[in-house]
């Protein structure tokens, strides 16, 4: 009986047996494992590539000054609108990037690789950890210091915040070891972290913290004022090292008329000055929207420089423009003449022209976009065809050598140790590149009344004042300005009225580039019935109109005078979000929030 049944059962069951290799052990094959990542140099490289997430974004550099004291924008940031920005209106803070770095530092060990190799990548990791923490300290002041990838049961999860000086000493420690361990001396592509980049960054960090402690000694940095000078010295030393290593020089290849702008609108940023860069490449599909956000009537914030800031550009002979009698009632066409040559490389002025289908056409400030008349061209290229969408392929420098010079100058100015030689190598060199002829080799001795009254009433040291002038002009629109105001404790400048160029009289047309064709017509009341083609008619009546003239029918253009922008000292630090506080009340809230 069974002899008949069994083969029959087998005949039926044979189909099922086709799948008899039923091993329930499956391993992932499309992802890699710890051995491969931490056992080879290629793996370490692969992992450290992810740290670039800590760098500011392209927009963080190029449009990073949208919230700053020298730009008028279409609608003011909520940050400076009383009652709008609150701990409940903001999201949680992110710590993912830190965990990623700490996990790497803990895992980068083993016998397979030379210590020198492991140290190099640890150096890279610590550079980025410093960057992560510096950003957190800038935003929040005290923050929890965490140096390992946390476990869910780790008590550090629910710990309070560490004092800023504790955290900052770790940051500087990380940077020092980055400088020591990173083995890359130079990088022709300027896209990786070299010793120079780490040093340059250290000068930025130490300068920030040094000046912050100095100027906030009676506030957020109470008790830390005495440590300011040591930090400033570190800033100066780090900057000096970059200079001594002599891998970089100021770029002057385009002459005084073009060098400055070529740093920002070249396909490949000039190598001599660029330390770290966002390389843009059409073939790689990596482009930015510089032209779009700086020329569009609708995209971007309509960033427009304030007259107060444009006034700080020196005359070509090196003397203050604001010493000129009647400087504040000069028409736009006149006031821009004979100035620091960076002005013509920063805004549309004079006979600035753009390229339309291969033909150069006059391009005066366009009031479809600009709010004040001072329309930035720093990050744009002149060809119209780049104006819409993310189409720009000009490189965006993240660090450049000029900042290192300014860091040295400011640190030494604050320390009171600047010499004429220092001046010549730093501010003097920058001014010389901009075509300025006077005051290049001697320390300034005159306090500029305009700078002091309009910007820094607390500063009576002419060197510090001039360094700050220089920093503002050289580094505008590179994403550093707001933090400069924070460390100088001049947040109140954020509430500065938004003024544009001087309009001698309403109800008449202006030829902004003096090419014989009128460009714009500011009117009060109603627009003229007969209008000239090509002229933009702009209502400056005030009231429900956003634009007005300071003197009613003449005077400086004004923008959004009816919006209250106010500074409150609590804004020097961001609030801890209500979400984070609810999860861990030990964090505590920042003062004033």
């Amino acid at each position: 009986m069974m002899t008949r049944i069994l083969p029959r059962v087998a005949a039926i069951g044979c189909l099922a047996i086709l799948a008899a290799s039923c091993d329930l052990e499956q391993t992932p094959v499309s992802a890699t494992n710890a051995e491969a990542v931490f056992g080879t140099e290629a793996g370490l490289q692969l992992y450290t590539n992810s740290f670039t997430e800590n760098l500011p974004s392209v927009d963080g550099v190029m449009a990073g000054d949208d919230m700053s004291d020298y730009l008028a924008v279409r609608s003011p940031s909520n940050f400076v609108r009383p009652g709008v920005y609150t701990p409940t209106s903001i999201g949680s803070w992110s710590w993912t990037a830190l965990r990623n770095i700490n996990f790497f530092l803990a895992s980068n060990k083993g016998d397979g690789l030379a210590p020198e190799v492991r140290n190099h990548y640890n150096g890279i990791a610590r550079f980025y950890r410093a960057m992560f923490y510096f950003n957190k300290v800038k935003q929040y002041g005290d923050v929890p210091w965490i140096d390992h990838a946390l476990d869910v049961n780790d008590s550090a999860l629910f710990a309070g915040r560490n004092k800023r000086d504790v955290v900052m000493s770790h940051v500087l420690e990380d940077l020092d070891s980055a400088v020591a361990y990173i083995r890359t001396e130079t990088d022709a592509s300027h896209t990786t972290i070299t010793k120079d980049v780490a040093l340059a960054y250290k000068s930025r960090v130490a300068l920030f913290e040094g000046t912050f402690r100095k100027y906030h000694a009676n506030g957020l940095a109470t008790g830390l004022g005495g440590t300011a000078n040591a930090l400033l010295q570190q800033a100066a030393d780090a900057a000096q090292k970059v200079m001594d290593r002599a891998h970089f020089t100021l770029y002057t290849g385009g002459g005084p008329d073009n060098s400055y702008r070529q740093l920002f609108n070249s396909e490949t940023a000039p190598a001599s000055e660029t330390m770290l860069v966002y390389s843009e490449d059409v073939n790689q599909g990596v482009r930015h929207d510089g032209n779009w956000i700086y020329t569009s009537a609708t995209t971007g914030v309509g960033a427009s420089f304030l007259k107060q800031f444009i006034n700080t550009y020196l005359k070509i002979d090196g003397t203050p423009f604001t010493d000129t009698p009647g400087y504040d009632t000069l028409a736009f066409m006149t006031e821009v003449k004979g100035r620091d040559k960076r002005l013509q490389q920063t805004i549309r002025m004079g006979d600035y022209k753009r390229l339309n289908a291969g033909v150069l056409v006059p391009a005066p400030p366009a009031f479809s976009q600009t709010l004040t008349g001072y329309m930035p061209i720093k990050w744009t290229v002149d060809d119209f065809s780049y104006d819409a969408g993310a189409t720009n392929t000009n490189d965006v420098p993240i660090f450049r050598y000029a900042e290192v010079l300014l860091n040295l100058a400011e640190a030494k100015a604050e320390l009171g140790t600047m010499t004429a030689a220092d001046w010549t190598k730093t501010v003097g060199a920058l001014r010389a590149r901009a075509g300025i002829t006077g005051g290049l080799t001697a320390l300034p001795t005159q306090v500029d009344a305009y700078l002091k009254t309009t910007y820094f009433p607390d500063i009576s040291n002419p060197v510090i004042l001039e360094v700050r002038r220089e920093r503002g002009i050289e580094l505008q629109l590179e994403g550093l300005r707001f933090q400069d105001l924070v460390r100088w404790k001049h947040g109140e400048l954020m509430a500065m009225p938004w003024r544009g160029f001087y309009v001698p009289s309403a109800n008449q047309s202006l030829d902004l580039n003096q090419d014989g064709t009128p460009d714009v017509y500011f009117y009060v009341g109603t627009a003229p019935a007969s209008q000239t083609a090509g002229v933009l008619y702009i209502n400056v009546s005030g009231g429900t109109q956003q634009r007005s003239l300071q003197g009613g029918d003449h005077g400086d253009l004004e923008w959004l005078m009816n919006i209250q922008r106010a500074w409150d000292d609590k804004l020097y630090l961001n609030p801890i979000s209500a979400t984070d506080l609810a999860v861990n009340p030990k964090l505590g809230q920042n003062p004033g929030w």
Partner: protein, 1080 residues
């Protein structure tokens, strides 16, 4: 090898045996089949000799002839859909003839008496667990793009939310409500016993659909059947007759609702200006990204409107186009109606020793989009056959092929679905084309991209599937052994093209939108699936009273997925469709691979005493590669029992009144292994950096996800009690169940850690949930004489409900943002709206509402006023915890409750009519912040304005200072965030989205026989069928021009994550078809 050695003698034997009974003596049996109540013949009934492959189908007069019946006593069975199976013993002499007549009684619920269950079938009245079945005929004539969409409402507590009307949309099938907040889980769908996708099935091939709802019925499927199983059984040939079926439909589809927007440019611009100014405190500069705005422009619009000037596009002083349009964008987006064609055929025959059937179908549906049409086709081909190789061995095989193609247009401007782009970037003022024929900037973001017609994804899916199996009978059929092996290969080839869209803002210049996206992408994914089953069932009856059935088997399944995605930029020309023509250096090549396998053995033991007491035990021992070795295997048992009260000797109730009465109860546990394949293993994923380093975009990896703190099976334990009865001569039937399903050890986050943790929290088996519910279905079916002809009618009502509560969850602080113990799933916390502020004095005397932003300038008359529940003088959510929830309270629940369906049908003289209503009795919805069809300019001032908002009295305005108006003072952005006055979840906008929908209405007519003979046809039916014909919902009190099911669903799920705004998705479709069915 051992297998082979066994196999060869087995096959030899099989050949020897197959010749055995070839020439025995034979006779024939003839007779009629009639309806017991209406005394009319039953055509198309199947008559067969039990245990033999001798079958016949009755003709119009109910007559049949069975030839080649072996001499002796045979059991003849007559079956027809909708009737209780008839059975009779007939003795036939060799070479002789016998007659037999069947009078069939109506079956309860128009259901088959034989119900498909896991690894077998059962008599409906012998079920001990919660099982329900519908006949496939009900779906075959429904004009739905795919079968999943047609299942909504068909079976009580089989819950399907369509989400939207896109033809390739396959909504999740849920059985009995919330499954797991951990790994989730939906119904396991099996096609002929092996996992399959209902969307790839030809609805005409479906014989029946069965749902196994409780643990007891689904337990044999183990790990993947934890939350119920849907069994789709396909048709097999039945009769020894060549049957050729042909069917075709021609239909028209159109959206059930198209939002009606203000098209008058001046009205739009005026409201925009006000909405913007009142929120921001300063005048607008531009309509989002595409058009500039200033007071002068508004003034000229006003003047033009007053003068009745037509739409026009002009060139302004700055050389740019100025648009004075009144464009109806929805009209440009959609066609008015789209045609669809469906053709299907089948050829089938069953002889004594073999059955074979071939079927096919083509469905073609034109796209709804007027430009870049989203055409859809679906093709199916299927063949199945079985051969009785020996008296004891039946070998069967089936092969299926299906192909689905769909073209989904894309918007390269901002990506995502066209609906959101239309809202955010396109104004009625603008136009599709400039006077010189170029696209406008507004258009380029939305409909213009479609008109350009080059951007889209072509979805192409092939599914090949083959099942080979054998059934062997042993010991006089008491033991039956079945095996099958299935392989299925699904290939998905999705090809995406994105090229910049040219547009123009001034004459003579062309700009490009989406300039960064100029690429082709081929995404090829293969899913290989093999499944094999081997099981045997032993049946015996002892002393005529003790019936025992034992089944045991093993099951193995292996699922392998891999992907090759290649993308490259730099198309040489915008129509390029092959990667060879992409010449850029930015290329992405992505792989992907996943494999999991499960191995299970299962058993089911049934015992029945005298057909009165039924007991069943089911167990499954399951193993899954998704769990670490020490947790890999688990055992899940269940028991169930039934008491057929009506079979008791003491039951003296007349069968005329009560035919059958049963009580059922079951309890069982199931494992849910629905976790990712490699959760317990540390992996480092590879991705490409967006930054150029040293000339290339390098690859990168990063810290792996935090490993779980242990990982094991989630367990779903279901307790089920049921009652069934058939009454009044089987005309009234009832089936009802009450259940509790506890899902324990759900795989959830340990605890939401502080953000400094820096990663998603590790998960573990931490949480418990209980889902409770009930379902019932009630049917009535009867016939009567109308004008001396029999008429039939029937009604079936089903009703179901469920709700779920969290029993255990790590949320010690009771954060409302997370699950918490006691929480009812779907419960919504919000503020209580008191009405609108009367004036500034009202604002001043009321609690401080500044927590909820109302824009620049605070609260004014006409703004929303919230109740200060805790009386602390300010409106806020406290700490958003259970202990301190400020002015929040539970204001509703979004879980659909009381789902119902009603089927009505009637037939008379070949004429038939049926209707299917379906709906939800209770459900609430709070519009999400980007729900533009609801909020209009309250969301973003440049959004389109729904016309219903402008109906008199709906919106508070200074002219309509009604404190009870439905909408407050118009403030742009006030609904654009849940911490803003209008966007805050609140009682006023908890919308009642209960609804009832006439899902289907059909009228059919069977052509009289005299016409048929001319056609050479046996049967012919012409019919019209309409889908989604009518809907009512309380939501429509205000919002009439949206579909209640799609407005409450998220945005386009094929292209977005669904979070870009409720209702911004493909519309639900209303369909009318005329069809013809022919049988030869």
């Amino acid at each position: 090898m051992r297998t082979l050695r066994l196999l060869i003698p087995g096959l030899t034997l099989l050949l020897a045996l197959s010749a055995r009974n070839a020439h025995a003596q034979q006779g024939r049996i003839s007779g009629t089949v009639t309806d017991h109540q209406a005394s009319m013949p039953i055509p198309s009934a199947q008559v067969r000799v039990q245990g033999l492959n001798v079958t016949a189908i009755t003709d119009e007069q109910g007559r049949f002839v069975l030839n080649n019946v072996p001499a002796g006593t045979a059991t003849v069975v007559a079956q027809r859909l909708g009737y209780v199976m008839g059975q009779s013993q007939v003795t036939v002499a060799g070479g002789g003839a016998a007659t037999v007549s069947f009078q069939l009684t109506r079956a309860p619920l128009a259901l088959d008496q034989v119900v498909t269950i896991g690894y077998g079938t059962a008599d409906r009245r012998n079920l001990t667990s919660a099982v329900e079945q519908v006949n496939g005929e009900e779906l075959a004539t429904r004009p739905v793009a795919n079968l999943t969409q047609g299942l909504e409402g068909m079976l009580p507590n089989v819950n399907i939310r369509p989400m939207d009307g896109k033809p390739i949309q396959s909504p999740v099938i849920n059985i009995r409500g919330m499954t797991s907040i951990g790994t989730g889980g939906s119904a396991l769908v099996l096609v002929d016993g092996v996992e399959g996708d209902p969307a790839s099935i030809n609805p005409n091939d479906v014989e029946s659909i069965t749902v196994l709802k409780d643990a007891s019925s689904a337990a044999v499927y183990g790990a993947r059947g934890a939350f119920g199983v849907l069994l789709i059984t396909t048709k097999r040939p039945k009769a020894n007759q060549l049957l050729i079926n042909y069917g075709m439909t021609y239909g028209l589809k159109q959206p059930t609702a198209v939002p009606d927007f203000v098209t008058d440019g001046y009205t739009y611009a005026k409201m925009f200006a006000q909405a913007f100014q009142d929120w921001q405190g300063f005048a607008a500069q531009n309509f989002n990204k595409t058009m500039v705005f200033n007071q002068a422009f508004l003034d000229s619009l006003k003047a033009r409107s007053a003068a009745g000037m037509p739409s026009s596009v002009q060139v302004g002083a700055d050389g740019n186009y100025v648009y004075y349009g009144n464009t109806d964008w929805m009209k440009l987006l959609y066609k008015d109606r789209v045609p669809s064609v469906d053709q299907n055929f089948s050829v089938a025959r069953a002889t004594d020793n073999a059955q074979f059937m071939v079927s096919g179908r083509y469905l073609g549906q034109d796209g709804l989009f007027r430009y870049n049409s989203d055409d859809f086709t679906q093709k199916n081909l299927r063949a199945n056959g079985a051969i009785q190789m020996a008296s004891w061995l039946n070998v069967r095989s089936s092969f299926d092929y299906s192909n689905r193609k769909y073209h989904n247009p894309l918007n390269v401007g901002e990506g995502g679905g066209v609906w959101r782009n239309l809202e955010d970037n396109t104004q009625p003022l603008s136009a599709l084309y400039n006077p010189d024929g170029t696209l406008t900037a507004s258009a380029a973001y939305s409909v213009g991209d479609l008109a350009y017609g080059k951007n889209g994804i072509d979805y192409d899916r092939d599914v090949y599937r083959s099942t080979t199996g054998a059934v062997g009978d042993f010991f006089g059929k008491r033991l039956q052994i079945t095996s099958d092996f299935t392989f299925q290969k699904q290939t998905d080839n999705n090809q995406q093209r994105r090229v910049p869209v040219p547009y123009s803002t001034r004459p003579g210049t062309v700009a490009y939108l989406g300039a960064a996206t100029n690429d082709l992408q081929n995404d090829d994914q293969n899913t290989n699936y093999i499944a094999t089953n081997l099981y045997g069932e032993y049946n015996t009856t002892l002393a005529n009273k003790h019936s025992v059935r034992a089944m045991a088997g093993v099951n193995y399944e292996e699922h392998t997925w891999d992907r090759l995605l290649a993308q490259r930029n730099g198309l040489i020309f915008p129509d390029a469709s092959d990667l060879n023509l992409a010449l850029g250096t930015a290329s992405t090549i992505t792989g992907g691979y996943e494999r999991w396998n499960v191995l299970g053995s299962f058993t089911r033991l049934n015992y029945s005493y005298d057909d009165r007491y039924l007991l069943e035990f089911t167990g499954r021992y399951d193993g899954s590669s998704k769990f670490p070795q020490d947790q890999r295997f688990a055992f899940f048992p269940s028991v169930s029992g039934a008491w057929r009260v009506s079979q008791e000797p003491f039951w003296k109730v007349s069968p005329k009144l009560v035919n059958d009465l049963r009580l059922r109860a079951s309890w069982g546990t199931m494992g849910n292994g629905n976790v990712g394949a490699y959760q317990f293993q540390q992996t480092f994923g590879i991705s490409q950096s967006g930054m150029i380093v040293n000339g290339t975009k390098p690859n990168q990896t990063r810290a792996p996800a935090v490993l779980p703190n242990g990982l094991t099976w989630e367990t779903a334990a279901t307790t089920n009690v049921g009652l069934d009865f058939d009454m009044l001569d089987n005309r009234l039937t009832f089936s009802g169940d009450v259940y509790t399903r506890k899902t324990t050890n759900m795989y959830t986050a340990a605890l939401t850690p502080p953000a400094v943790f820096g990663a998603a929290p590790p998960r573990g088996n931490y949480a418990d949930l209980a889902t409770k519910g009930w379902e019932l279905s009630l049917g009535w079916q009867d016939g009567f004489q109308l004008a001396r002809k029999p008429a039939t009618y029937g009604i079936r009502v089903s009703l179901s409900d469920n709700h779920a509560n969290i029993l255990k969850y790590n949320n010690p602080n009771g954060l409302l943002s997370d699950y918490r113990v006691g929480q009812q799933i779907g419960e919504t916390w919000g503020f209580v709206t008191e009405g609108l502020f009367k004036d500034s004095a009202d604002v001043a005397s009321h609690a401080n509402q500044s927590y909820l932003s109302n824009g620049c300038c605070g609260y004014k008359a006409g703004d929303l006023k919230f109740k200060d529940l805790n009386g602390d003088g300010k409106i806020d959510p406290g700490q958003s915890t259970l202990a301190n929830h400020g002015d929040l309270q539970i204001i509703g629940n979004t879980t659909p409750r009381y789902a119902f369906a009603v089927n009505l049908n009637g037939g008379w003289r070949g004429l038939s009519i049926s209707s299917f209503f379906q709906g939800v009795g209770k459900q609430q919805w709070h519009p999400s912040t980007e729900a533009d069809y609801f909020w209009g300019q309250y969301n973003r001032p440049y959004d389109l304005i729904p016309t219903w908002q402008l109906k008199p009295g709906v919106m508070w305005t200074p002219d309509n200072p009604n404190q009870d108006a439905f909408l407050p003072r118009l403030l742009g952005y006030s609904a654009n965030g849940s911490n803003r006055s209008v966007g805050a979840v609140q009682t006023k906008y908890m919308m009642n989205i209960a609804y009832v929908r006439l899902k289907n209405l059909q009228v059919g007519y069977d052509l009289p026989t005299k016409f048929l003979s001319r056609l050479g046809s046996r049967q012919a039916t012409v019919y019209v069928s309409a889908e989604n014909l009518w809907t009512y919902s309380p939501l429509y009190k205000y919002v009439k021009d949206v579909d209640v099911e799609s407005i409450s669903a998220g945005s386009d799920l094929i292209l977005t994550s669904g979070t870009s705004g409720d209702g911004l998705n493909y519309p639900m479709m209303k369909t009318f078809v005329t069809g013809l069915k022919l049988t030869f």
